[in-house]
């Protein structure tokens, strides 16, 4: 496959040789997307991972009855990694924000390579695990910060309860 060296900067290919990258990408299906088209949608069963060969995308997730933008994806970003490890529903939607080409590595292909004992795919799985661990760490920090914020807000409210009560008794309802 030509241009394999181009894909050395894809995070899930870190530590892979060019030959290993080529093996993973062999048989991958390039998908052409217009701006606004979905690579995949939230809730759909995961059936493979995607690498943005060219173009740009946006990660979106449902919040109530709206969809909110979470993060932009540039060229050579990898998405839907969980789709090669488990068939769970997609956790977010990916939409092309300009004409985009995405390479799809199917779960079946991934499974074949794992069964064969492919080094490249094993390294990809390690990279995915490392990435998920990083995301979990970040999530824990954000959760901790959010909990502190909520506690602070709750305390502020409670103090305001008594402060407001004092004002009511000494100002509005003084006699």
């Amino acid at each position: 496959m030509t241009g394999v060296a181009d894909y050395r900067d894809v995070t899930i290919f870190e530590g892979l040789t060019d030959a290993e990258i080529a093996e993973v990408l062999e048989g991958s299906q390039p998908i052409q997307l217009e701006a606004g088209q979905a690579v995949f949608k939230e809730g759909e069963p995961g059936d493979g991972l995607f690498i943005i060969a060219s173009g740009k995308c946006m990660v979106r997730r449902k919040a109530g009855d709206k969809e909110i933008d979470l993060a932009p994806l540039d060229r050579h970003a990898a998405v839907g990694e969980m789709g090669v490890l488990a068939q769970k529903g997609r956790m977010a939607s990916i939409y092309a924000t300009e004409p985009t080409v995405a390479l799809k590595v199917t779960r079946e292909r991934f499974g074949e390579l794992l069964a064969k004992g492919s080094c490249g795919v094993t390294k990809v799985v390690c990279n995915i695990a490392r990435m998920l661990s990083g995301r979990l760490d970040k999530l824990n920090s954000q959760f901790g910060a959010l909990t502190q914020k909520v506690e602070k807000e709750t305390k502020k409210e409670a103090v305001q309860d008594l402060r407001k009560f004092k004002d009511q008794l000494y100002k509005e309802w003084a006699f």
Partner: protein, 409 residues
């Protein structure tokens, strides 16, 4: 709706009018402590009786707890909690330094000998003596308890803590009770009526009154109103009522009751039922018997222009709204019948000072308290355009709230 539900309803109405947060309302409503004890005593027959005694102590913010002790086979915890809070509001309205309490024992003294009731009382006192006291919690008489019961409590408590007349009020006058206590609630009602009428350019003299109930509160109120030149045109008791549009001779009615145990049959009067008396034509209606007697149906038919609540919660919340709409002005129970607890306070003060006041001094001080309390409530009602009842609760919440904040939550 009964007395305790009505108390909560009126408290919530005032709290909402003041725009108090739910958490603040809960803080004010919840009792500080609920005590339950198992009171076992040997009856005269040798049989062991197991009673339950309890005491709800509602709010300590403004002073020691104060409230009655009732002996009744049916005791309801929610009922007691609400009546305890009622005492907090009442003592706050008249600005005496107490919080509210209520308690009792689920025995039936009408089916017990005096010795048995004494044993139950002394046992209960021994069980709660660490949780009551002159500066802690001061019980008083209530349903089926009386001055003698208070004497027993004082006696048992004093054995454990030394001479302590101030541990209870409502004691016999011969055992450190106060002059003027017996007629205090009725007298307070009379003062409340006097203050209300004055705001409308009227006096007790020449005004007509109908009094439902001729027990302690009703009979003294009627007597004192009559003494001031008021025309009591109808009175009633459990057996029925009597009416005379020209005004009853109340001292003679009292003599008649002493002989016959009822107002019924007093000569020269026409009969009137306990329900009819509430809608009898008069200027001032004084319910001094049971709770919940002025229902929404009765409220539409009340012909009095003013109501002075001698009983606890005689007016239901729906009736209260109707009376408000009809512009019938009510002096609420927590103000009108606070004369009793006010003179209880005087008894406690005399006991602490170990100095007795003459009746004239007690009456004069009661008059001053009732006048000042009425003034505060009336002025707030006028400035905020709310009823006297809502204003009274707002004054109570204001005083209890400030004390709670200053003492520290």
């Amino acid at each position: 709706m009964n007395a305790f539900e009505a108390t909560n309803w009126f408290f919530t109405k005032a709290a909402k009018r003041m725009d108090l947060a739910d958490r603040i309302q809960l803080m004010l409503k919840q009792p500080e402590r609920v005590i339950e004890v198992e009171v076992s005593v040997e009856l005269d027959s040798g049989e062991l009786a197991n009673f339950t005694g309890f005491r709800v102590q509602h709010s300590p913010a403004r002073g020691p707890y104060k409230g009655g002790l009732r002996y009744h086979p049916v005791m309801d915890a929610d009922h007691a909690k609400s009546l305890a809070s009622l005492m907090t509001w009442k003592t706050a309205v008249v600005d005496i330094p107490y919080g509210g309490a209520k308690g009792g024992i689920d025995c039936d003294p009408t089916k017990m000998s005096e010795a048995e009731v004494e044993r139950v009382t002394r046992k209960f006192t021994r069980q709660i003596h660490e949780l009551i006291g002159p500066y802690v919690d001061i019980p008083a008489p209530d349903v089926n308890t009386n001055a003698t019961t208070m004497a027993w409590i004082m006696s048992e408590y004093s054995k454990l803590h030394g001479f302590s007349p101030a541990v209870v009020t409502g004691k016999p006058v011969d055992l450190h009770g106060s002059q003027g206590r017996e007629e205090a609630t009725g007298r307070g009602c009379m003062y409340a009526a006097e203050e209300l009428l004055a705001r409308f350019g009227k006096k007790v003299e020449g005004t007509t009154f109908a009094v439902q109930g001729f027990g302690n509160v009703g009979s003294h109120a009627a007597r004192l109103i009559h003494g001031k030149g008021g025309k009591v045109v109808a009175v009633s008791d459990v057996k029925g009522g009597i009416a005379d549009p020209n005004g009853l001779n109340i001292p003679s009615v009292i003599d008649h009751v002493k002989k016959t145990r009822s107002v019924v049959g007093f000569p020269g009067t026409s009969p009137v039922s306990n329900e009819e008396i509430l809608t009898y034509p008069c200027d001032v209606l004084l319910p001094a018997a049971l709770d919940g007697v002025i229902t929404k149906e009765i409220a539409s038919e009340v012909r009095a222009k003013y109501i002075v609540e001698g009983a606890n919660a005689p007016t239901t919340p729906e009736a209260d709204e109707i009376l408000d709409r009809r512009e019938v002005v009510s002096v609420p129970d927590i103000l009108a019948n606070a004369g009793g607890v006010t003179v209880s306070y005087f008894e406690w003060v005399q006991n602490l000072q170990q100095f007795k006041w003459e009746k004239e001094e007690v009456d004069a001080k009661l008059h001053r308290v009732m006048r000042k309390s009425f003034d505060t409530v009336y002025n707030l009602a006028t400035s905020k355009k709310i009823s006297l009842r809502t204003a009274a609760f707002c004054v109570a919440i204001g005083r209890v709230g400030k004390a709670t904040l200053l003492m520290g939550v």
